[in-house]
Symmetry: C2
Subunit: 612 residues, 2 copies
């Protein structure tokens, strides 16, 4: 059994211990976190260190007493098979676990924080899908040595971590919205909003009141701004692990998380982990129209993207099945096509909610059907969900009044269907907090998370400390899960309003004889289909020519939209339709209306619909 | 000629213009930056946009008048061939340029900010060194479309950039040291330090006093926390460009910079840009002992690291020349060695100052000699300089009293020798500000910077916005170059003290009959040579066995040091010596002394030097 305790890389100062009960694994073994004393502490003053047993502080003993007889753990712990974990469950779990003490560069993983997975099967193994590059990855030698830091009284001259004394920022103060009114107007009004302060040594200060471990800061600048682990801090790992449980944990036991520097970078890491273009002729399935930057990430890796037909619910499972079933003949070495000699795709990249660029959202049944096709053909699924929480309010329905209602109203993630562990979900804070955080996370089987993390150690060393500590302060410590979901509910209503402004403008200004569309149920994008077949020059101009003409007319009239052809998964195949993408994320309502008016005029000009 | 003005991706709102004179290129063409109005501004109210000419504000006209007759630009501008640019020059330049207005996702490059390079040659081209992967990179389609945002009055429905209204942080306040006393004690004392605040819309506020454009914030949260360019913000690009000029710009004209997510990630990007292991059998030269994470980055890429012999000044140029001169016979396909069939190395990775792990610092003459070998064999140099500013005070010398003295006392960077443009220097804020910033930059020829940037757009989208805006506020806006160099001078003195504590402890506690060392002139590491030949079991134990024995003794006695073998560039070759690495960066003086005492005892135990 692997050691459950691996503290930080290379931190100086004698570690002391505190204990938190475990919430994972078959057995309920108490897990021990270690901490380092403030760096001026004297030597050899730390309490004895127990690698598996609890320490003997009154608090720990009390905690243990609650659990000593608890077999199976589900008696004492908030696990309910077939039910979602609730925010109340998480609160109870945290109260029982006590304060999280995770010092500089402390190792952590989801297993330290998640609920019991008793009775759940393990994920399948994916060794046959890994690239040679990925199999050549080994843990950092310097980070491995960090295990010795558990020894009480040990002084580290091991790693070149600067002393926090030399960090030129002694505190950070944030001004943030105060729930329930999250609006900018309320926050910026005199006396509005709240201020939160993060100090350099907050975790070493005495608790605000004796015994109030829960309101004792668990993260500070001295930890966040030093080197950390490639998979992120324990503090944010706990938050995203619990967040995934609230959303619905996978039905297998050994799932994990790894913080990322955003989904753009995470996708490149995943592609390098699973797809070998030059060596193995690997391909990736995507929606026939897909996020252009994702497609552009595959190109230099010589990974061929193969587009799957879409309908109003996005990717069509039957089309995916057909491509995979017929692969051997299509890609036969002698077939002469662009897929000649290519390996049958074993990876699907999909944006299931508010798909970029089409805005399509896969229903629960659609996701189940696509998952079944993936199972049939041994395909791993990269579930890219930046817009997951931008699922709109259905017209005429009342907004959710509770977090529970909100969560139940969301289309289930692929994770909740994933009996095999074949899904890698990418979450991001970019669209729902700030893009500049460059932070998100993946959720996947422990095997894939481990391989991904090994690469993160070299590619980026995990997300930056400012984002980790600022988002932790706001989302975890101040708002908590409930407040953060409140923020997301608020955002959903804002985007619903924006979507509706654009839909109304389209109704008012676009020529329906040429343009057709359906307002999206999620995301940031309105997809517009232009009927090129009735263009005056349909017979002598290509679709791309007409698209360019419309685009240029748009620019001349002062509106920028994205050309549909930029998003085509197979750039070398002639397009069959003409599309435009317009975002309702950025412009003010009045600008959006004016922009769509200009777009309508530009299309009319191209189609010579004067005076209509 | 390429357009000098490419603003931001996909920002909503009609752009207005302001003008800054150019400081680069052969001709002194005024450069125009564009800005977007606050997002509630009305339509069509922006002034006319001039892509190359100046606008007509009194300020711009005054600026132009100063330059209109200035041919060549060196008459009016602070260029002095063969001399370093000074801080006064930079201040003068900025005052003439006026306020930098660079909105969300504004494109920028070093050419917009650097001084004139008239008469300097262009860098050589390195097409034959690029990997196939690197040559397959193309600019993002969505970012290319951003050029249309220059059109006045254009409304963008192009990119999915969230509206800053939904950023839940309306201001960030930092508490920081106040020069000249940078110490933590002074900063944390009551009334000590200073507070700096960054608002969401600072750039759109009126200037603090009429006409005081220079003290009008040029960066804010609405810009920094949105999406940006892969090469970083204009604001930080200007700062690091000027910083490099103060350090000494390269002697060729077309050098550039690209902000990075830290040098660990930057190195992986550079290796993928220049080295193709599986396809081309590429190797990289490194010091025979090198940073373990750098070596570990090369392994999964199947790039072989070839160690070059070192002496007290680090890498030995004659040894490098010998390896390269004899390559064809050593690596001949039939030679049977591990280098059989490998391509002659065309890349050197070196840490010239305070090398990790040996602490060695290359002198100016040594750098020149290594550069000459690189020229002779068509080798590119990756200059990794995290410890550059941790060059110590020489014993008995007075600390520098001015920035100029400080800069003149530093060993020159490879950049200043680089007549060909064959050096890629990696700088990092990790060791001199905070590691958690995950931010640094590279400086190299425009060709290499462009290829690197194309990858950054996919691998990470540039450094996070929190780090960019916080470091800009502190280093650029508050401290300025002078204050930042003051901070670095302070840090140098702190590390000198730490080095001296460790040196004294080594003198006191290490058995000189077994251990030899020289205190380093730079960096964070003391390298210790252990004479394994006099070990009682020298005849029947390997070096690695003895190293492990000492390491285990150390752990048992409560000290962690790094094993020298972890840093060996060629792990498959038997080691010829036994070394240990001890850092003086992290532990307190008293802990450091105690740790070295324990280390001495552990070595004595291993060598059976009882009672010495």
């Amino acid at each position: 059994m692997r050691s459950v305790i691996r503290t930080g890389a290379l931190r100086d100062g004698p570690p002391s211990t505190t204990t938190a009960p475990a919430y994972s694994g078959i057995k309920n073994i108490p897990r021990t976190y270690t901490t380092a004393q403030p760096h001026h502490s004297s030597l050899n003053s730390s309490p004895a260190f127990h690698s598996k047993a609890a320490d003997c502080s009154p608090e720990s003993l009390a905690t243990l007493a609650n659990h000593a007889e608890a077999e199976p753990p589900s008696v004492a712990l908030p696990v309910r098979h077939g039910e979602r974990i609730t925010i109340a469950d998480i609160k109870e779990r945290r109260a029982k676990a006590g304060r999280l003490v995770a010092p500089t560069a402390a190792y952590s993983d989801a297993d330290m924080f998640k609920g019991p997975t008793t009775g759940k099967p393990k994920a399948k193994r994916w060794d046959h899908h890994l690239t040679h590059e990925s199999t050549l990855r080994h843990p950092c030698k310097l980070k491995q040595a960090a295990k010795h830091l558990n020894n009480p009284g040990l002084i580290s001259l091991g790693g070149g971590l600067p002393c926090p004394e030399y960090f030129p920022i002694s505190s950070l103060t944030l001004h943030v919205p105060a729930p329930p009114d999250f609006s900018e107007a309320a926050t910026l009004a005199p006396g509005g909003g709240e201020t939160l302060t993060i100090g350099k040594y907050d975790t070493t200060l005495p608790p605000p009141s004796a015994g109030d471990a829960l309101h004792h800061p668990e993260y500070d600048l001295s930890i966040a701004l030093n080197y950390g682990q490639g998979n992120g801090s324990a503090q944010m790992t706990r938050f995203v692990t619990e967040h995934i449980e609230l959303l619905g944990a996978p039905p297998y036991a050994d799932w994990g998380v790894c913080l990322t520097i955003g989904s753009t970078g995470a996708l490149e890491q995943i592609l390098r982990m699973l797809c070998d273009g030059p060596g193995r002729g690997d391909c990736v399935l995507t929606e026939e129209f897909s996020f252009s930057t994702a497609l552009e990430t595959a190109v230099p890796l010589e990974v061929t993207t193969v587009g799957v037909r879409m309908d109003s619910e996005g990717l069509v499972p039957e089309a995916m099945d057909e491509i995979l079933s017929q692969w051997d003949s299509v890609a036969a070495p002698g077939s002469g096509g662009k897929l000649a000699g290519k390996r049958k795709p074993h990876v699907l990249y999909t944006v299931p909610s508010g798909q970029n660029p089409t805005g399509a959202t896969q229903s629960a049944a659609r996701r189940q059907a696509i998952y079944a096709v993936a199972q049939r053909h041994d395909v791993l699924i990269i579930e890219d969900e930046p817009y997951y929480y931008l699922q709109m309010q259905a017209p005429g329905t009342a907004p959710p009044s509770t977090v529970d209602e909100f969560l139940k109203g969301l289309v289930p993630t692929y994770l909740t269907l994933d009996v095999d562990g074949r899904v890698i979900r990418m979450d991001s804070f970019s669209k729902v907090v700030v893009p500049g955080s460059r932070m998100g996370w993946i959720t996947a089987s422990a095997q894939l998370v481990e391989r991904f993390t090994r690469h993160a150690e070299m590619a980026n060393q995990g997300p930056n400390g400012f984002s980790q500590v600022i988002l932790h302060k706001l989302l975890d410590e101040r708002w908590g899960h409930e407040g953060y979901f409140g923020w997301l509910m608020n955002l959903r209503m804002e985007y619903t309003k924006r979507r509706d402004v654009m839909a109304a403008a389209c109704e008012e200004f676009l020529p329906k004889e040429v343009v057709s569309w359906a307002p999206p149920q999620a995301g940031m994008f309105q997809w517009l289909k232009v009927n090129h077949t009735i263009h005056p020059h349909a017979s002598d101009k290509t679709i791309l020519d007409i698209e360019e003409e419309i685009f240029n007319n748009c620019i001349a009239r002062g509106v920028l939209v994205a050309r549909g052809s930029w998003f085509r998964a197979e750039q070398d195949v002639a397009p069959s339709g003409l599309y435009l993408r317009a975002t309702f994320a950025a412009a003010t309502p009045e600008n959006m209306r004016e922009a769509i008016r200009r777009l309508g005029a530009a299309i009319r000009e191209s189609f010579q619909l004067y005076g209509v």
